[in-house]
Symmetry: C2
Amino acid sequence: MVRTREHTAKRFGTILFAAAFAIGLAACAASPPDRAAALSGPMSIAKQGSFFIGGHDVHSDTLSTLPNYAASGTVTVDQMYVHYQIPTGAKPLSLTLVHGCCLTGMTWETTPDGRMGWEEYFVRKGYPTYVIDQSDRGRSATDISAINAVRSGKAPISQLPTVFAASHESAWTIFRFGPQYPQTFPGEQFPVDAQASLWQQMVPDWSPSLGTPNPTVPALSQLAIRLGHTVLISHSQAGIYPFQTAAISTQGIAGIVSIEPGECPSATGDLTPYTRLPILVLFGDYVDLSPRWAPRLKACRAFVDAVDHAGGRAQLVLLPDEGIHGNTHMMMQDRNNLDVADWILRWIDTHVGAAGA
Amino acid sequence: MVRTREHTAKRFGTILFAAAFAIGLAACAASPPDRAAALSGPMSIAKQGSFFIGGHDVHSDTLSTLPNYAASGTVTVDQMYVHYQIPTGAKPLSLTLVHGCCLTGMTWETTPDGRMGWEEYFVRKGYPTYVIDQSDRGRSATDISAINAVRSGKAPISQLPTVFAASHESAWTIFRFGPQYPQTFPGEQFPVDAQASLWQQMVPDWSPSLGTPNPTVPALSQLAIRLGHTVLISHSQAGIYPFQTAAISTQGIAGIVSIEPGECPSATGDLTPYTRLPILVLFGDYVDLSPRWAPRLKACRAFVDAVDHAGGRAQLVLLPDEGIHGNTHMMMQDRNNLDVADWILRWIDTHVGAAGA
């Protein structure tokens, strides 16, 4: 009897396994044709364009040291550039992409080795997609008055803005291509042969001059309210911005996907806004090998656990635990960037889509 | 007899007038449906993306004054950002849009009052369209090393870069919205009620620190060679860039449309490169009322006449002479911006298209 039961259980287990295997195979096989369909052929755009959100007027007497341009007058600074594409037959849920340090919205466009970036992929997958340039970065103006004030002797040198540029060598380590330039981690997925194109994308970063929160944060809040139902997908330096935005108001924010945030909110702070939203904090590979990122992962895990403990729906995921290996900090440009995109879209579909898309 | 002849001539004249009127009406009526077809419905994109051209590596010891980012290392500067869209069934001739002072490629996207810009319109009209951010502007990195060198006492104040911002008040006059802020010229077409959105678009301009030609020029030359057959459409400060590009090489340049250039090449210089290309220099309205623009128009006319005299195919056009009135310096954003776009496309079709598209 017992043996028979065991035998039946074993047989049933074998059938279950075979069925699961078949379903898994089918799911696996389903992915590439879906991908191919999404990638090939024309893309049908219902609407595209750009606009700015936020910013404020500043009067300055040191706008220029040139005779051809007046020194005194008004300029608008701290606004945030937004480019968007809405495909035909768009889903009701939109995605807002917020780049990280020393980069611009270009992060999400074509990859350094010329493949499709997440922006186009998300549009092809049916999502209205909004790409921003952080305030004071890229197409979003910064205030240069202080430079001219110092130049013309009207202000002391200490008034110069704090601005920095990440070098190739330091970005290499920060982006976790390898332990140090130009070594790579075994199996890493960033197209390092095309690194020159990444270096061309990098821009100076004025954020240390801008205070906390970065002016991008209130601008993101205005954008979310305008869009009504958007997932804020942020990266690195901007990883904290959607949380800071939610602390202003959760209105319009359908969910948060924070990719390798430089910082998570404190696990011991007021977690109320975060308990109201589906939250994903996503890390790639090699995190434990990085003295920069390992402690950040740990702090984010504490935050996510605290949000869950407070009744929220936060989740921290390491891609290797999902069977996706070799991802660097620049996973939106890694060779398997569309695998990661698909994983994120499935997460959104499950955790945000079901919550009211 | 005489009276009869006069009568006949008059009748013939009346018939001619009526016929011309009917043809005119038909032409007039033909335009809006074409326009409506181009504007409405989805846009089919075969390919879109972005890349950088040009730039060079710089080693610096003053990239940062922050502990978290290394002061020493290599950065890439002076490259040019290029965003492109290729519609399905694209024409063989591409258009490259080069913005002017204190602006970025956003100039050509959505207008300040939310209408379609030239970039999308040209794509909808079938042209592969390339929009750049000038080197050291927008998404194209500038070198901030000198700011940190001065800040950390490693360089004198005189080493600070020359950078300026055009104020609302000075831009108002430069862009010829009126004689001075906030007056408008009668009948002017810029959507001044949406001026706040224009001010949000404006960014600081580092070009005085970059030498001549601006690094955008060799990058445009590389782009033209890569594209093979493109019309360089430039504006204002960048009005001279296509000419400077042609002076490097005319390879890949199918024609030049220079919109209200701040400067034309000298009428007494070497005109050889310019005799090889169809050239349009285009001005809007109120030019004679502007102490800034009237002498520039005059110098451009001398240049165009000299090119023609040397056997070239250059043309200078004032829009009011073509029956298009009220255009400011920002004609790509004026309320009649698509009328101007249509006029330019007809010019291109006649003068460039016929020349080998």
